[in-house]
């Protein structure tokens, strides 16, 4: 099969699985997850083959795999959609394939496959566990299977389809389609337990917030299409189109068309990747099941945002001459850097294990956006991949932890314990070794533990780029963020795994099934070794072994290959210091937190801690700024005044007038004239019939007589007319 055809088929299986499960196999849980995982496996195989083929091609950036078909007839010619595999999408396909497959497998265990059905589980609520009797007659509280098991797999199947579609597509339109599909799926999956009000709220919040970004992105796409007449990446990124875009001013804030389009598209990315100021939906998205969190934060959506930004990189830095940022890039870099720091600060003060990871995700994405902003294309892509691996690992690990603690909760029966609160954990190192070690690797990677973890290399490259191109503000912000990152990572690890168990549940937590630990191990391996593909050439000692393959490969995507920055010790030392220092501090502060104690940082930070803990009241701010006005607008202005008052008034007036008119027609015209005429015809016909019907006696002989008389008449007439 030609590789292009294969690319076409990569996104197909999850979609097929979605429909199959939803339409046919909804009753059968085993069949459902078999179909889903099988589909994921198919896509995974396809993407691996594609990736391998891509590796085998020299100069893939110049000669990518591309094939397209005419889809929509537009004013002149056709709107073509198609698939494109260049180094960037190949790499993305690689980690998407892995993470998606891992998450699918993980989901089987996470949703308690093979456990009995819950005692009082209802669709739309988390499984509350079931009582099972062992052979000795002792009844245990064991986890119960998810009531909507099949539906879950259907949803993540659709989700995977969206992601694959977005990755392989060669034009903005299909990218946007996949983008929206993922938006829908995130809504469905965050609100998966729809009986929980918080889940419903979170789902709506995520949906609306991302819509804000998507609308702007759609604007950008439309603008781009009207400006260039095409949506195909390679056509857009051709020299003359870019030059034309750069030279034509948009007539808005003195921006050029390229700049305006870039900012519009970037707003879409902000929404998707939960950058400030649209970051608020991501922490609440933790209401969904953990694989969903991993899906959203590691594999799919947020990466999709960054991926889109990277995709449009040639457009973003179209008018960039190497130093001195364009307005668009300034905005991007600023938002990225600020988000990185801001989210890190909030993350320090969170107690929910998944929320911490959520905020860390936001800040890491901030890193990437900032890198894009300063033009560090390869660094951004590198960090994207690495982050995908270790953040997926962390989320799955946290899910495993929560699962273990939930098991403990079920065992001990103390239902007031929140199994996601880190202060209810501790000492899980011995209970759940696999989870611990993998989580440790993930955490170190996140905090950029030197030399061995993947996060170190990617983050170091970003810092080096920032420093090398002299964006010191960005550099310092990112460095501070890195410090905080290391700090809260260590805080999390310490609170969760080290020390003594603070609750009975933590005591009785236990390791989870292989379907959940296997993905952890695999991802852990990746989050260590993947980083070695991007070691800079002139790194001391290690540089000589490295070919910096990643840089060569992904850099080939761009038309002019970005040169690697010359090496300097300052960013290296900085990253070393912040990473190790942050880790040490975190361990120092949280190494022995007694049970029921509050956060040690609370007192020293005081007011600031409260703000941090409450995420700087952004939700309340948005609630005051947007939600309430919108609600007021909807309920009072639109509903009461516009709808009830104005429109209904007009309508009622029209209706009344129509009624009057109709009655006039009825009384004045219809009844007397038309009906009168009709009745006249009818009555006269009836009268005529009554007067004539005496002829029809029903006696055949009289008929014959009549006929004969007539015949005689004619006969006589003709005879007299004869000559």
């Amino acid at each position: 099969m030609a590789i292009e055809t294969l690319i076409w088929f990569v996104p197909a299986p999850p979609l097929l699985a979605f429909f199959l499960i939803l339409l046919f196999t909804n009753r059968n849980k085993a069949l459902s997850h078999t179909i889903a995982v099988g589909a994921a496996l198919l896509s995974f195989t396809g993407s691996m083959i594609v990736f391998w083929q891509a590796l085998c091609v020299e100069e893939l950036g110049k000669y990518p795999f591309e094939s397209s078909i005419n889809w929509l007839p537009v004013a002149k010619g056709w709107l073509a959609v198609g698939v494109l595999i260049d180094p960037l999408s190949a790499t993305t396909l690689f980690f998407v394939g892995w993470t998606v497959l891992m998450i699918f497998i993980y989901s089987v265990g996470y949703n308690n496959y093979g456990q009995p059905a819950g005692d009082h589980d209802k669709p739309g609520l988390q499984p509350h566990g079931a009582t099972a009797a062992d052979e000795y007659g002792h009844t245990h509280h064991v986890p119960s299977i998810e009531p909507m098991y099949s539906r879950f797999f259907a949803f993540i199947g659709l989700f995977a389809f969206g992601m694959y579609l977005l990755v392989v597509s060669n034009n903005l339109l299909t990218v946007f389609v996949g983008w929206e599909i993922m938006g829908l799926c995130s809504y469905l999956l965050i609100g998966f337990w729809y009986a929980k009000p918080s889940a419903r709220a979170a789902a709506i919040k995520a949906f609306i917030t991302t819509r804000v970004g998507d609308v702007f992105m759609l604007l950008g796409i439309v603008y781009l299409y009207s400006a260039t007449g095409t949506l195909n990446f390679r056509t857009i990124f051709s020299e003359e189109i870019l030059r034309r875009l750069v030279e034509t001013p948009a007539g808005f804030l003195g921006l050029s068309t390229a700049g305006l389009i870039s900012i519009l598209l970037f707003i879409g990315t902000v929404g998707k990747s939960a950058q400030w100021p649209l970051h608020v939906w991501l922490p609440d998205a933790m209401e969904g099941p953990t694989p969903v969190s991993a899906m959203i934060h590691a594999a799919a959506m947020v990466s999709a945002g960054v991926y889109a930004a990277l995709r449009m990189f040639p457009l973003l830095n179209a008018e960039w001459q190497g130093h001195g940022l364009t307005p668009a890039m300034t905005v991007i870099a600023f938002i990225g850097a600020f988000t990185a720091l801001f989210a890190a600060v909030i993350a320090v003060a969170q107690n929910d294990i998944k929320r911490v990871l959520a905020y860390s995700t936001i800040s890491q994405l901030g890193y990437m956006i900032a890198a894009v902003g300063i033009g560090a294309y390869v660094a951004a892509a590198f960090h994207l991949v690495m982050h995908a691996f270790f953040k997926a690992l962390l989320f799955l690990g946290s899910g495993s932890v929560i699962h273990g603690v939930e098991h403990g909760v079920l065992h001990t029966g103390e239902h007031d314990v929140d199994p996601q609160n880190m202060f209810n954990m501790g000492g899980l190192k011995d209970k759940m070794p696999v989870t611990f070690w993998t989580f440790l690797i993930g955490g170190f990677a996140l905090s950029g533990f030197p030399l061995i973890t993947a996060g170190f290399w990617s983050k170091d490259e970003i810092l080096a780029d920032a420093f090398g191109h002299g964006h010191l503000a960005v550099f310092s912000t990112l460095a501070l963020a890195a410090l905080l990152t290391a700090f809260y990572t260590m805080r999390q690890i310490t609170l969760t795994f080290l020390g003594k168990p603070r609750t009975e549940s933590a005591k009785h937590a236990q390791e989870t099934t292989w379907t959940m630990t296997l993905p952890l191990v695999v991802l852990a391996v990746f989050s260590v070794v993947a980083g070695w593909s991007g070691i800079p050439k002139h790194f001391p000692l290690l540089g000589m072994f490295s070919s910096n393959w990643f840089h060569e490969f992904v850099g080939g995507t761009l038309l002019e290959r970005p040169e690697t920055v010359e090496f300097s010790f300052i960013p290296l030392l900085t990253s070393l210091v912040v990473a190790l220092g942050g880790l040490f501090l975190g361990w120092l502060v949280y190494r022995n937190v007694p049970a029921g104690a509050e956060d040690p940082l609370k007192r020293p930070l005081g007011m600031l801690y409260t703000w941090m803990h409450n995420k700087f009241y952004f939700d309340q701010l948005y609630d005051f700024l947007f939600v309430r006005p919108v609600i007021w607008f909807a309920e009072v202005f639109t509903f009461l005044w516009m709808d009830r008052g104005l429109i209904d008034g007009i309508l009622h007036a029209i209706a009344h007038f129509t009624g009057v008119l109709g009655s006039f027609f009825r009384q004045g015209i219809d009844a007397p004239i038309i009906n009168g005429f009709g009745d006249l015809v009818g009555d006269s016909t009836k009268k005529a019939g009554q007067s004539l019907r005496v002829i029809q006696t029903g006696q055949v002989q009289q008929y014959m007589i009549a006929a004969l008389i007539f015949v005689f008449g004619t006969l006589i007439f003709f005879l007299y007319s004869l000559p």
Binding site: Q699, Q701, Q702, I705, L708, I709, F712, L715, I716, L719
Partner: protein
């Protein structure tokens, strides 16, 4: 006034008298008998027209089949026949007037026809008209099709008659 004229007048008288009785006699069985007599007279007329074959056919078909059918029908509907109602319906004068008028009209029209009083040509004895008739009935370039259609009509009539008369209480014959 040759004897055959006398004979013709006698036969014609019988024919018309029998026909008149057929349409006027109150007893329907007598009407059937008068009909038979009328048919006989007509057969004799055929003989006088040198159409002996048709005389025979007349006797076989009409007296042997049709008259018997009539009598059968009369007997099957006998006590409807027995109730001695008026023999005519209410507007029989109109019918009578019509009949007379039609007769007058026919005679008047015929009288305007030039070959009204033609005399019969001599029959050449060697021509066997019966043989010609038989061959004409079965020769494809003569009356083959009408003959076959007539036979089909007879079969259809038979089946239809049996079907129609086949009430809940058995067939007719």
């Amino acid at each position: 006034m040759t004897p055959d004229m006398i004979l013709f007048l006698v036969i014609a008288l019988v024919t018309l008298a029998a026909g008149f009785m057929v349409v006027t006699t109150p007893n329907i069985v007598h009407a059937a008998l008068w009909l038979i007599l009328n048919l006989f007279a007509v057969a004799v007329l055929y003989v006088m027209l040198n159409a002996g074959f048709f005389a025979m056919v007349q006797v076989v078909v009409y007296i042997g089949a049709i008259a018997i059918l009539f009598i059968f029908a009369i007997m099957l509907t006998r006590h409807a026949m027995r109730d001695s109602g008026p023999r005519f319906n209410t507007d029989w004068p109109m019918a009578a007037i019509l009949g007379v008028a039609l007769l007058a009209a026919l005679i008047w029209i015929l009288s305007r026809w030039q070959s009204f009083m033609t005399l019969p040509p001599m029959l050449t004895s060697d021509t066997d008209i019966l043989r010609q008739l038989g061959q004409a009935l079965v020769s494809p370039n003569a009356f083959f099709i009408p003959f076959e259609i007539a036979s089909v009509l007879l079969v259809a009539a038979m089946i239809g008659a049996i079907y129609v008369a086949w009430g809940k209480s058995g067939g007719k014959k």
